[in-house]
Point group: D2
């Protein structure tokens, strides 16, 4: 049976998700909602859906079995709670919330309902990252000892975004915190952070950082390094490296073409990297939604859920504590 | 206005094309036809189209503005002729026909109608190959002097296919002949071929070859090398290299992931190549159909037409003549 | 005038250095010395030199203008002091000593003599690393923001070596501490370390670590990450990456051949990395000695001296302090 | 016992060979000779050897056990014959002669003496090419089906050189003809050539070509492609590719560093290729001389001898015949 979706939030990411839902043969967009009504209408029209005047109208429709939350972060907890209470499966963009207390309160309320929730950690669905994780699982590199995650945006967001973002660790590195847990398959016990404001002084004035390095230790003793920058002029730089007793698995970036240019000054020069997440993770977003639809269809549990969203936030908070105290911070 | 398509031939390639047409916002599949009726029905059902009992029924529908011919080669000329006479724009899979006399007779009949015909040389639409062509056009490597085209299938087709294929030069290398013309932007004047039957003795028994090298000279004196094999165990190997007075442009193959594996025996080992044309040229097929739809919408002339299809066949025939006579054959 | 060398320490590294000295057209080996006399004699014989019964005999020879110290670490300060007092130029293997107090006492004694001392940080002379540094200097990547140094040995040393090594930070990562300063061209102000014993339990029993990550901040706010492992089964892994406002410069590893292997399971598989420092840094060792000989000939100051050796030890000590206190440690 | 060498021809290649001989612990340069006496003296002085006033004086010295012929091509047969008659082992630069009749006459004279002759096909000793050959021998790619050899000089030689060179096929592609035989381990039976004058009109005026493609068939049916250009602005381009039933082996070029440059326009851009043969084949030249010295010491037969030099010339001549007749030419 086709799974009806309500899309909450019709900005860039919401639109992209709606397209992916529409392409899945087992799902269709039924309702769209956005505080900015015309955005909701545009997406609705594209997919033969209806723009809901209120969230409740969409949630009240029994045809809607799944909700996709891609609205602004401060609305996540409310929409998630209401959707779960309405009996819907939910695919919620990260982060759940910037405030761990609100996250815990949310779970206290919805946890007992045993909800089907998938967290929008898209990178877990990237085919290359999955191949690394699979290689690790299959013992290809033995015990994992070092993980290095490189994650750099092509350019800094506007100040208005920075102000409500929760800061680099909660907004940007949160993906990498999750990726570390995904790759290791075990919990982090220690977090240490160092950071600077080098890219844009405005970011510093807003109390945030734009250049950061975090080191973490996992239960097994494996060490993880993450580095972030808000500006890589050569494109969106997304690499991982997992090193262990029997070898190493790495992923390189993606480019628009495979061209190699040879001239008198340089050779084998390649294209810039794909510019940003919509292009870079196009396959991942598709896999993410397909996996979610699969779970809804089969009643199975999403591979990445509420607890993963919470734990990534715990690590981000620990990174801030480390940054402010100069100490390595123990985590649960 | 949405452009209605009739899909003639609903085998693997026809199905793939139908999917691409369906994804284009300006087009939709209206009719499907296949000598094997259930195939036509399956594709029709998937896209909300109708399976036509006869070609004429589809051609008679004024909603159909475009025809996509993906049936067996021996039906191309007939379907192309009828479609053009019915006033339709046509995207016809290569080759037009295996017999140059039939090709010329076809054109004598339809040429005066000034038809809109695009030939299915999908590789011209591959983003990487296009980037090479664009680099050449923009003078990045100056005058082109050497072109090397590597084109190897992952495995040989069944004997039944070989028998009706027209032989390696007309069936397989025909893409490379066209690619050479596309890259050079000028005509070939000389063709020399050497070939062997090394992959499958059955292919030899059928009078065909499975391993071949062709050298060609263009009007400017630029030289072109093409090599083909019917079996590359590491996947579908599709590379081009254009070398000129100011540098070189090359394209590498595509893989499912960007993973690099390091162990005690080898390092930086990558995935096998994408297995075959459906996967390897997925982007190209999309660009090809989008470009065709664009032409139909705007009344512009396709960038690759009937004459290109004919010229590729001329080169394939010249390659056979060279193979049989041991001489370089003059063309054009 | 040919520069006469005394080689102190004729183990593996001493022998290698002697070979390089012998190949330089402006230098020759005059004396060799080793506590194990036959080692000294073997090297002497190979290069037409004399094996000195005592250090003083070599230092007393006016033909000796330069001393190369490649003996065990605990002898460095003594030999360095005596050589300087004898008026010789000295190329001293790292580290100067494991004890910063002894290092400072040494300098208090010899500093006033304005000695010509080059520290054996061979990696500064690697052509690829130099090209990165040169690119940075020339502004190719603008202001440097992130530096990532990967440095992993092919396999752990024997326990006996570990016991006298001073520990991973002083024995192994000391090269990377120096490399960070070399690349940045500025001083480090903060050091934070995390480490584990994952490779060999024996190393842990000896109180040492074998897997480590260090994060550092430079005066400008630039961040540096170093990771070390005592065992990389795919070979000696030595990479650097410098990232800045205008781009990135990276160095890949070296292999014995450029072969790429394609099979049905993997493609483009390369050789293991060169196994260890003698092979990997062969060019660097040659450049290092040639640069030193150049300094002795021209009376110029070596580009890497006593103070650099001291500063690398300061950073190693700070790393230990961070490891033990769990705090980021401020350095001078 | 140390093997004494006479070096005949002290130009750039002779000097390079002399350096390599001098570095081998089992050999030393005893005599040098050059029609330009000061060249001979310079090399002699560098290596503590004597400059011979005549060839005979060097050949008369019993200390000379080996002769290295690096003089101009037209002197090879004479020097080779005299050296063999004087009982010396000979390492002779390619080609033996430009005239196959002279080559055969030479052999008629010296063959009965069962001489120790190694032909200077340096590429056979390149570690990467050897690794490909070894992989083939060990069955890594099964039966070889396609070989592609790319060989492009960084820039054209002066007209004066072109005039006496014997033409591109005998002067430049002769290395590739030999390499094809080396890789295949079997004989070529058919040669077909196509060529142009695109790089330098002066070369055309001298009746030569500067851009060429040759296709060959081996006894087994395996096909070989070679392409040559006298000008690659990105450096000396030397690549091979061997393709077979079980996979493929390729070699990439060598560069001065492993640096990868990332900017806003291009990424992973590498250095130009090593400029020319002295740098590119430095390792190969060393291995070549070491292998020769080994043969002289042990009385074993060089792996590449007179017959190989002759056969490469046969293939070059066949290429010319094909170029002039437009036919594939059968050989031996």
């Amino acid at each position: 049976m086709t799974i009806g979706f309500a899309i909450f939030g019709c900005g860039r990411i919401g639109r992209m998700h709606a397209d992916v839902v529409a392409q899945n043969p087992h799902a269709r967009v039924v309702w769209t909602y956005d505080v900015h009504q015309p955005s909701a209408e545009a997406v609705a029209q594209k997919h033969g859906a209806k723009a809901a005047p209120t969230v409740d109208e969409a949630l009240g429709d029994p045809e809607v079995r799944a909700v996709l939350i891609a609205s602004s972060t401060d609305t996540h907890v409310d929409l998630l709670t209401r959707s779960v209470k309405a009996g819907k499966a939910v695919l919620c963009e990260k982060p759940i919330d910037l405030d761990i207390a609100r996250v815990d309160a949310c779970w206290a309320e919805i946890g007992p309902l045993e909800p089907v929730i998938q967290l929008g950690f898209n990178r877990r669905f990237d085919p290359s990252f999955r191949a690394v994780r699979q290689g690790i699982r299959q013992g290809e590199i033995g015990k994992v000892e070092l993980v290095v995650i490189t994650s750099r945006d092509p350019g800094p967001p506007p100040a208005a975004y920075i102000q409500v973002s929760g800061g680099l660790f909660r907004d940007m590195m949160i993906h990498d915190f999750d990726l570390a847990r995904f790759l290791l398959g075990e919990e982090i016990t220690q977090v240490s952070a160092m950071a600077s404001n080098l890219v844009d002084p405005e970011i510093g004035r807003l109390g945030d950082i734009d250049t950061a390095m975090v080191t973490m230790k996992a239960r097994s003793g494996a060490l993880v390094h993450i580095n972030n920058s808000r500006r890589a002029v050569y494109g969106y730089d997304q690499r991982i490296e997992a090193f262990g007793e029997k070898g190493m698995l790495r992923c390189d970036n993606k480019r628009a073409t495979t061209i190699l240019r040879y001239g008198s000054e340089t050779t084998a020069a390649r294209d810039p990297l794909l510019n940003f997440f919509i292009e870079r993770y196009a396959d991942a977003y598709r896999q993410e939604i397909d996996a979610f639809i699969d779970c809804v269809q089969n009643g199975s549990t999403p591979s990445v859920g509420f607890a993963d969203g919470r734990q990534a936030l715990v690590l981000a908070n620990a990174a801030y504590e480390s940054l402010h105290t100069g100490r390595a911070v123990e985590v649960g």
